[in-house]
């Protein structure tokens, strides 16, 4: 659980007292008095709880080597070089981290942001005391965020699988076919698109690279099996040549051409959807827009969402798919 700001201040004070070589082995009373000197009035139980939290292993706690020394009847760091202030930052670093925390908090993402914010709070705990913090009751940064979704709990496991190249077994449910399938995947990439998370990899069942929505996965398990790597060019292509996630099977990267009204062309100008986007405007402001992309279902859906303001010109097969949606 992320520590609150007053708790973080107490950790700082405890750390300071424990590192004071002039008064080694501080007692509980010393710690309480040090807090009281900073206008923080707490009980023995709170300080004991703080010490327990500080001792908790990372990522939850600080892994602080605190021990009660029975001989000297006081607390000590068993590692004299230890301090939670080892993370101390300069003022501009603090501001940069605070902005990042705001952004991640705004992005949401459940466990992912929780882990990040918890880690950052620890980093900041060593610095906020010095620089203070502007208290904000409401966020000043807001991005689109959705409630935590099904399957996101597998993020850590799948991330580890991609990073360490470990094959994974899971059961997959296909929403369209309404069918389950056991999958043995050699994963290489996790992507997010429109707040939905996906894992890409070589599927032994399909004998090709496939992508699976995390929301449709059940019970993934890491397997002790030799990893089948995917060609780097394929990974690069998935990273750079697609808008969306689900490539239309059987088609390669190609030039896709659309005609958009002046109204919609303004949006494409302001928010290009891909690096390959090129707009040629007519006198009235409508645009002939081309993309060099692997065609995807998401691209077709995006075009469709603009209704009569947008028309696919080519290639013909993509136009047919678009009109058939």
């Amino acid at each position: 659980m992320p520590a609150n700001k007053s708790a973080l201040r107490r950790y700082m004070i405890i750390d300071q007292v424990l590192r004071n070589s002039m008064r080694p082995y501080p007692t509980m009373d010393d710690l309480l008095n040090a807090c009281a000197d900073k206008d923080i009035y707490v009980t023995d139980e709170s300080i004991q709880k703080d010490i327990r939290f500080m001792k908790d292993p990372s990522p939850n706690g600080f892994d602080a080597p605190i021990r009660y020394n029975r001989t000297h009847k006081g607390y000590e760091y068993t590692d004299p070089d230890y301090s939670i202030r080892q993370f101390a930052l300069a003022e501009e670093d603090v501001m940069a981290v605070l902005e990042s925390v705001d952004l991640v908090r705004s992005l949401g993402g459940g466990r992912f942001s929780h882990k990040f914010i918890s880690a950052m709070e620890k980093v900041l705990s060593a610095s906020l005391e010095e620089f203070g913090q502007v208290k904000q009751d409401v966020p000043v940064l807001q991005t689109m965020s959705t409630p935590e979704c099904r399957g996101f709990e597998y993020f850590d496991l799948l991330y580890k699988a991609c990073q360490r190249r470990i094959p994974v077994s899971f059961v997959h449910y296909n929403y369209q076919k309404r069918r389950f399938k056991s999958i043995l995947l050699h994963p290489f990439l996790i992507t997010e698109f429109e707040n939905k998370w996906y894992v890409h990899g070589y599927s032994e069942q399909h004998e090709e690279v496939r992508v699976f929505g995390l929301d449709r996965l059940y019970h993934p398990m890491l397997l002790k099996l030799s990893f089948k790597p995917t060609d780097t060019a394929v990974i690069q292509s998935r990273l750079h040549d697609m808008y969306g996630v689900f490539a239309i099977r059987g088609y390669q990267k190609c030039k896709i051409r659309i005609v958009a009204s002046a109204f919609i062309t303004s949006y494409f100008s302001a928010y290009p959807i891909h690096a390959s986007q090129v707009i040629k405007k007519t006198n009235g402001g409508s645009g002939i827009i081309t993309f060099d992309l692997i065609p995807t279902l998401e691209l077709a859906r995006l075009f469709l969402s603009h209704g009569k303001h947008l028309m696919v010109v080519g290639p013909k097969w993509f136009k047919d798919i678009y009109e058939g949606l």
Partner: protein, 141 residues
């Protein structure tokens, strides 16, 4: 294949459906040192109003061919133990569930999962599930 340590869980992909309706599907079997895990997938059926319901009897067990010993159900996840039941809301619903039984012996074998000794068509009985240790994949926990 290297001989696996007895403590290593081993996974088998065994896609097998029950009866002519092929529902539920047995997706995976995992032999753990302390239990045997069976992963199932169920698609709610059009034959039943709002997809009907599912549950599993507490006395469901495994039985190895040629052996009279029963391997009892220890735990069920994703499916209630009877008389409780999971009511679907629609015929488009689905459910993934896992049953944990007492550990099967770590050897090549054929086993049945029996919800009822004399089953009705709707009971979840599966027969002739083959375990060939050479095809098992060690799981990392």
């Amino acid at each position: 294949m290297k001989k696996l340590k007895a403590i290593t869980p081993v996974l088998f992909h065994v896609t097998a459906g029950k009866g002519s309706l092929q529902n539920p599907y047995l997706m995976r079997v995992i032999l753990h040192p302390h239990c045997t895990q069976l992963d199932f997938a169920y698609q709610a059926m059009k034959e039943y109003h709002r997809g009907g319901w599912i549950r599993i009897a507490a006395h469901t067990h495994l039985r190895v061919k040629g052996d009279s010993q029963r391997y009892a159900l220890i735990e069920a996840k994703g499916i209630p133990i009877a008389p409780n039941q999971l009511d679907f809301e629609s015929t488009a619903d689905w459910q993934y569930f896992t049953l944990y039984f007492e550990p099967l012996p770590r050897k090549d074998l054929v086993f049945d999962m029996l919800e009822e000794e004399k089953p009705a068509p709707t009971d979840f009985n599966f027969y002739g599930i083959e375990i060939n240790l050479a095809q098992g994949i060690p799981v990392i926990f």
